[in-house]
């Protein structure tokens, strides 16, 4: 249900993992490579993961969702390697009996991915490249204990 892979991701396949008779709603989130960020054109991205730990952290996000939304079922896949514009970097699928929970739990998942899952992206522009993350204000300093475990 939780994987880090260099293969292309299929929304249908990841969504199908959480379809079940008790669930009437499936919400998926797909993160794709955007061409322009703050006016700057991206040529491609490279994602690198600490794969074994990243899968554990994804599973942990699934557990956190289960605690908060006991009826929810979650599947997450994140891709690594070189991705072009509009390629899919991550797919999150959450099914629940009632739709409100599926939206909330799904949004929770993507926010947690951006906080705790050891995956990094390098942006390649026409005039250079850079690993993203270190520049972020919110990441400065060691996070509070509650945030990371």
């Amino acid at each position: 249900m939780f994987s880090v892979t260099s293969e292309p991701l299929s929304i249908e396949e990841i969504s199908n993992k959480v379809v079940r008779p008790e669930a009437g709603a499936v919400v998926t989130f797909t993160g794709t490579v955007r061409e322009f960020t703050k006016g700057k054109r991206t040529l491609y991205l490279t994602y690198e993961a600490y794969a074994s730990m990243a899968e554990k952290q994804l599973k942990r996000i699934g557990d956190e969702i289960k605690e908060r939304w006991p009826d929810a079922m979650t599947a997450i896949s994140h891709r690594t390697g070189k991705l072009g514009i509009s390629d899919i970097a991550v797919v999150i699928a959450v099914s629940t009996p009632h739709r409100k929970d599926a939206y909330e739990a799904n949004e929770y998942a993507i926010e947690r991915i951006k906080e705790i899952v050891p995956i990094w992206k390098k942006e390649k522009w026409e005039d250079g490249e850079e690993w993203i993350g270190d520049q972020l204000e919110k990441s400065a300093g060691i996070p509070e204990k509650e945030e990371i475990r």
Binding site: Y47, M53, P118, W120, G133
Partner: protein, 76 residues
């Protein structure tokens, strides 16, 4: 000797997938100080994972642990 896995820009700064710290045991806080001293890598916003779990500054690391430096993540 403790082997420390590096990722993303830390890998580029370290010039490889891992670095070595010549100790049998030390704390997370001490490890980060050693990395900064020996490799001149800024570690203010770097976390440490011990056996694939985030660790706290006072946690002990031994040479039998799997250790990694985790710079701010940017997945998703």
């Amino acid at each position: 000797m403790i082997k420390v896995n590096c990722f993303a820009h830390l890998k580029e700064l370290a010039g490889g997938n891992h670095i070595h710290i010549d100790k049998k045991e030390l704390t997370v806080k001490e490890l980060l100080e050693e990395v900064q001293r020996q490799y001149h890598i800024q570690t203010d916003s770097v976390l440490v994972a011990i056996n694939e779990e985030y660790a706290f500054p006072d946690d002990q690391i031994t040479e039998y642990d799997t250790v990694a430096l985790i710079p701010p993540v940017s997945g998703g």
